[in-house]
């Protein structure tokens, strides 16, 4: 349909939104660990068409990953145990950030540490860099024994960590929550009460796979993080639980999003924005397509502003 035709029907839907202290041109971001440092997708996708991107998780020093095999495909999903391999703060600042400053979309930097102090110092250093719109704390990676999961699983510890990071980071601070918990709302509440600007929900779900012939685990580290469309119902449930709790903290929905309709489901459950993850591996241009599909859904449903969809779930009569 032509632009004039659309305008005669009431205009293009408004896709701009604000979440966690950041203004986005649309609610579609790409998820950490599935989009590298952005440049890898140059020529495959128009980065300025996206709401934003979240970089691979950065630690204070460069890290090597886990032994192979690191990934295994499962029914409608995949397990990964990459081991948070990354270039470190310095490598990121000198080698990756110059490109990201010119990429034309909002940039959030995912970060982590293996100790309390590492989290704080990493966040503080990254927070001083120009060209970063916000930080996303990874407190939920299931692969690192010494950090990650321990911080993210216990609300009290998580709250202390977020508060400490908040004290040294003036940029918007998001926290990516682990789904490997019996009480996702308690974790979100700890973040809200400790000064986080938003929660990203959810990270991967811990799982495993076995080769019945060799009797070996499919991953060298035995356990890995499950992602992809297989986890979407769990992610939706957790987004909705947090939204329903009325904590006042914005939610970024993540988990198995493959289409604009999938994204709209997350908005209806209460997410203000979404991140596209594993789908970037299947179709490197999918995040751009999902923006167009959300726009199309809005037009079909006569929604003039995408923000009208946020939390607009209708109960059964």
């Amino acid at each position: 349909m032509s632009l004039s035709g659309l305008l005669s029907q009431g205009g293009l839907p408004h896709l701009a939104t604000r979440c966690g202290g950041i203004d986005f041109k649309n609610p579609v971001l790409t998820a950490s660990g599935t989009f590298g440092y952005g440049r890898e997708f140059e020529g495959l996708i128009a980065l300025p068409a996206l709401g934003g991107l979240v970089t691979k998780g950065i630690s204070p020093k460069a890290r090597l990953g886990n032994p192979a095999p690191r990934i295994y495909e499962t029914a409608a999903g995949m397990l990964n145990s990459i081991g948070l391999e990354n270039v470190g703060v310095e490598g990121f600042a000198t080698g990756k950030l110059p490109y990201l400053r010119t990429c034309g979309t909002k940039v959030l930097v995912n970060f982590f540490g293996t100790t309390f102090d590492e989290y704080v110092s990493c966040g503080e250093e990254l927070g001083k860099l120009d060209g970063i719109d916000g930080l996303e704390m990874n407190v939920s990676c299931p692969n690192i024994k010494a950090g990650g999961i321990e911080f993210g699983r216990e609300a009290r510890v998580l709250g202390e960590l977020v508060r400490a990071c908040r004290g040294v980071i003036s940029k918007p601070l998001w926290v990516k929550l682990t789904p490997n918990t019996s009480d996702i709302v308690a974790l979100a509440r700890a973040c809200a009460e400790s000064g986080a600007d938003a929660v990203s929900v959810i990270n991967t779900i811990t799982g495993m796979a076995i080769d019945p012939f060799t009797r070996k685990p499919r991953l060298a580290t035995i356990f890995g993080g499950l992602s992809g469309p297989a986890i979407k119902p769990i992610a939706l449930r957790m987004v909705y639980q947090i939204h329903r709790a009325g904590l006042g903290i914005p939610i970024c929905g993540i988990g198995g999003i493959q289409s604009g309709l999938d994204a709209v489901e997350f908005l209806l459950a209460g997410a203000s924005v979404v991140q596209v993850g594993t789908q970037n591996f299947i179709d490197p241009a999918s995040a751009e397509r999902i923006v167009r599909e959300i726009e199309e859904v809005c037009r079909q449903q006569s929604v003039s502003d995408v923000n009208e969809l946020v939390g607009a779930l209708s109960p059964h009569a």
């Binding site: 990953g65 032994p67 690191r70 990934i71 495909e73 029914a75 490197p284």
Partner: protein, 276 residues
Amino acid sequence: MRYFDARIIENRALGGGYFVLRLGGCDSLSASRAGQFVMVRGDWGRDPLLPRPVSLLSVAPEGRADLLAKGIGRGTRLLEGAQPGARVSVLGPLGNGFPDATRETTDLLVAGGVGLPPLFMQAEHAARRGLVDRCEMIYGGRSSRDLVLMGEMRGLGLSTYLATEDGSVGRRGRVTSSLEARIDHHLASGRNSKLRIMACGPKEMLWAVARIAEANTLECYLSLEAHMACGIGVCLGCAVPAHSPPYRYTCSDGPVFLASDVVIPAAAGPSTRSAK
């Protein structure tokens, strides 16, 4: 490298589960090097989820690309059954490739079973440049059913040395025994041509080839295979242990590696030569 839709023009079964998928609309693959690969996915819904890495067999200027694969897992079995006219998404060309044939070198192309495509393409490129006499194919499988495209290789004018484990065609035994025999032949001939090895096939075969190359101080290139999700160095799933840095990535650093750059496991048993 581009991401695009291609159409299946032809799906030719070669027996033994092997098939050649001829794709149209692949103009952006026309400059591909031998050894490069593509990520391919059909309209499969959500299972299997990920695209499949498949080596290029041949590319032609009019946008045609041939892929050779064997129906083994879910993805390759779906490709095996794919009908002409069907759409597949393609990301490529990906990875590096083998070094070009030269007048000063003799390349021993060692293919094991489904590892044939990149080496066939290497020979085809050599033939186009009038250098097919600078390479030879040493091709092995379990039985004659595992050896395909023999007519096409003859058509290139390529010298081919076959080995099957059951002796149904060619020399009886592993392809590595044939490789050792060809190395002995070339070294004994005293010709002043640098001998190189380029290999693709099962991992155990590749490690054996690397050990043979090392024992004979020959330059050796291995085309490796690994589980991967993206093909472009993002998922970091396809790590292979290397000397420095400790990991390299099959998709973005490879799939072709100098054997001396990657960690070659020690032989589990006696070497092929001492077992003769």
